[in-house]
Symmetry: C2
Amino acid sequence: MKNRSEQLVHDLGKKIVTSEFAPGDLLPKVEDASEMLKVSRTVVREALRVLSTMGLVRSNQRAGTVVLPRSDWQWWNLDVLTWVLEDDKNSDFLVHLTEVRLGLEPTAAALAAKRASDHDMSKIKHAFERLEQSIGDEKAWASADYDFHESILQASHNDLIINTVKTLRKALVNSREKTLEASKNFPESPYDSPTQEVFKRHRVIYDAIIARDEELARQKMTDLILRVKRILEKIYGFQD
Amino acid sequence: MKNRSEQLVHDLGKKIVTSEFAPGDLLPKVEDASEMLKVSRTVVREALRVLSTMGLVRSNQRAGTVVLPRSDWQWWNLDVLTWVLEDDKNSDFLVHLTEVRLGLEPTAAALAAKRASDHDMSKIKHAFERLEQSIGDEKAWASADYDFHESILQASHNDLIINTVKTLRKALVNSREKTLEASKNFPESPYDSPTQEVFKRHRVIYDAIIARDEELARQKMTDLILRVKRILEKIYGFQD
DNA sequence: AATTATTTGTCCGTATGTATG
DNA sequence: CCATACATACGGACAAATAAT
């Protein structure tokens, strides 16, 4: 945390996301907050501007600064996404996130199969080989797995999808410890463990992309993420 | 545009998006900008905080405020998205956006088929009936079409997808005039015109959701958006 | 319909923090 | 280690908008 207003953004933002401040609530007015928190009004005002850009609050003259409904939040802001994921109350949010992955990552894989340049292909190949050599090594696998998916993503040549999925993955990594905690009593982790079986699931994706078979790449990526979703639903008892 | 810092955000933000300020460029320092633009340093600083939250710039003490690479931008911020769409240079960005729709909207349709409550279903039904009555009326169709897709979206019960697609649609509406301009020399508009043929495409989606056939709903929504994508590719000559 | 009170918005003089040369 | 250049932080004053009276 670099400066005071960033700190304040974090404090207030997290309180909003965890509904310590609920939508409709009024935040303390600038002067009060300034005094209470022992920071200048400048700092408070800048923090409110940031929170406002995140869609968490809206300032109105005379009426004060009010917390906005969840539908207005900027979910793809890394801070917001991380705060939400860190909050226990949003356990089914992980399922929702996975549904987005289910929408975007197979699409990205299909696009990669279509658009990958020679250079993209060699990066995917290299990442895949690292994956193969990481079977059995938990830590090495995690890193290789990340790079493998990253190389496919980049090959999609769709900046919007690349950016969105990267934000999503960063947020998941940020809050991973907590999630591992929640899942450690279950036989399967939502995060890949470096077994032969899981490796096979990656191989078919790799093969499909190399063969430039868009629909197969889409299908196999869907299968991989669907597995994660099923595990999450089992863990959190989410259904319908 | 309400206040001065919002104005400044718009001015600077648009200049960054249209690469009048390119990634790596240094923005004028706070005091200079303040003097040049005849606003207080407060206003400049607050604007920079907002731009920083949008991922467009990063401020460093002593080094000044630098424009960030596109990969760092917060694409799902409505302002950023609108500015990008308004910029002629990003014509293939519309295709990228459509690829995201292709990832998310069929997913939302499938989820709607799975999760829609009775209340959701009746809203979808009502929106569909309005659609049917709007055939031939350009203006009424646009509104009914919007509400039809909105009702499906809401029935997905995935806040993240709802929020993302809504942002996307708002941005498209914001910059629609320009796009219509670009497409009016072509036989088909990327936006639905109220013909029987287009209505049929909506009917099959409606039928699939009512029947709670997830895969069919996904498929038919894919078909609908794929049509838009093909038209865009024809218009902008995007390929590979 | 006019006035007032309250809160954000704006300005600016000054001081401190931080990385660079 | 000092000087420089920039962002960051402080706080008193006033302007503008708008909810409440």
